[in-house]
Amino acid sequence: MTITNQPSPLVAEKLSHYFGKKRALNSINIAIPSTGITALLGANGAGKTTLINCALGLLKPSSGDLRVLQGKAGTQAIKQQIGVMLQDADLPDLLTAREHITLFSTYYSNPINIDELIKQCDLIEFADTRYRKLSGGQKRRVQFALAILGRPKLVFLDEPTTGLDIDARRVLWNTIRELSSTGTTIVLTTHYLEEADALADRIMVIDRGQLIADGSANEIRKVVSGAVIRCESNLSISTAEQLSGVRSANRSGRYLEVVTNNGTETLKELLSKDPKLSDLTVQKPTLENAFTQLINTPKKQSTRSNQGELA
């Protein structure tokens, strides 16, 4: 990753947000890189959307510091420079894509030409169809068009592809990559590891309102590499942990679950230690395994700060 002198477009310091007693952001420290695509990866309820909503000025943080494009979140001046696709925001059914875009273009001081935008986002076929009649993927593309309409420096995409089929997802991925290639900084949230992997230059894993890992897709993938072995076995957890390559072992009822760096080796040893084991499955680690892994690892937060000279 190239180191730039540009300040981070989004810096949170000890940022907390509570919904009643529930702590959605727990004194999180984060600095989004000034270029490329950053994925905020985490399970549902991890605090990703809360962070984005704070950055948009939709939520007022309970405590801590938050700077967006070196300014205060939620002011008209900052909103002019930001584009957003919210997680659950649907547009009114009875207007067409073109009408939605026309209305939104009056909000921005320097919007992209409407026809150009329609072409750029590949909306031509259905630009004059009422929103209600569009497919899920088409709706997201209209929302995406609204997000980039004002030529933003920073774009937030909150779960942009949730609920889309794989084709529609690929189409949107391409559009997001194209946007990034024009120099726009993109922050997207996702709970799909695959999506973060496919798009992001930098992945920040968020769990229970905290940043628990931060690195390139490759660095994160290492944590999640290997295999998860599950079987019915009487072996004790401590024995299982001794096997070569094993990162962690757990037991639920009669089942033993082992996360390992080296599936083949671990499996060989496992079979020789317990020839009677049964009901065996070997799977790629899920994001959940990765989280368990990340959370169990003592804090080695590599928050690579590149925020420049921020006051």
């Binding site: 919210l86 209305l103 939104f104 009056t106 609204l146």
Partner: protein
């Protein structure tokens, strides 16, 4: 300004395209008036009386449904949230909806005036027609506030149900369909708490309809109610954010 004009255009388009929704609020007052005010009562005094009260009834529909159901629906789907995240002028949305409501209120009033004048034998000085029209249009304000409160508070499904109840309740209890004087005393007492009642009375005093009218009391009552509703709307708005 440009944003406001476009916002109003968008609101008008949405409303026109929801014709199945719009039609009843436009057609119902007109047909009720033609039936009860003119055909069944044989024109004359009743036609004048009911012109005043059905005018209030006519503007209530677009106000309560447009704001109650419209805002609830757009809030439910996250549309208002998105508008807050983008640099949309904060009041343009409400302003545009208000202008749209006034447009449809006028559209609902016009046929009633025509029926009254041509078939109901209602004769009023030109100035009185204008005052009545303005009175009816201004009646939109408390109903819009009421609609907004519903819209900010309820889910879109709940808003449909509640708007209907409020709409019918205000019409009947406020004496817009039949004069409250033919109601039992208890219901006459209830009417005093209905903004629709006071607006109806004010309209009645403008056309000098039969019966005793105390416009200053009505004006005071409706002012207090409007202020209360403004407070309620602000509270609902702050709470939903």
């Amino acid at each position: 300004m440009n944003a406001f004009i476009n916002e109003t255009g968008a609101e008008l388009l949405k409303a026109m395209r929801a014709i199945e929704f719009l039609l009843p609020t436009l057609v119902m007052p007109m047909s009720f008036y033609a039936l009860f005010g003119v055909m069944l009562s044989g024109a004359g005094k009743n036609a004048i009386y009911l012109l005043a009260t059905y005018g209030v009834f006519a503007v209530m529909g677009p106000s309560i449904f447009g704001f109650g159901v419209g805002v609830a629906n757009e809030r439910d789907r996250g549309w208002l949230q998105l508008k807050r995240a983008v640099p949309a002028p904060p009041l343009a949305y409400i302003g545009a909806k208000l202008l749209t409501t006034l447009f449809f209120a006028a559209t609902a009033l016009l046929p009633i005036y025509l029926i009254a004048g041509f078939f109901g034998g209602v004769e009023l000085a030109r100035g009185t027609w204008v005052s009545l029209f303005l009175m009816h249009l201004l009646s939109v304000i408390p109903f819009v506030l009421l609609g907004l409160t519903l819209g900010f508070t309820l889910s879109s499904g709940g808003a449909v149900a509640f708007s209907n109840i409020v709409f019918l309740g205000l019409s009947i209890l406020g004496g817009l369909w039949f004069p409250v004087t033919i109601f039992p005393v208890v219901m006459q007492k209830i009417a005093i708490f209905m903004p629709s009642y006071h607006l109806g009375e004010l309209a009645l005093s403008i056309v000098n309809a039969p019966g005793e009218h105390t416009p200053s009391t009505n004006l005071m009552a409706i002012t207090v109610m409007t202020l209360l509703l403004t407070g309620l709307t602000l509270f609902a708005w702050l709470r939903q954010r």
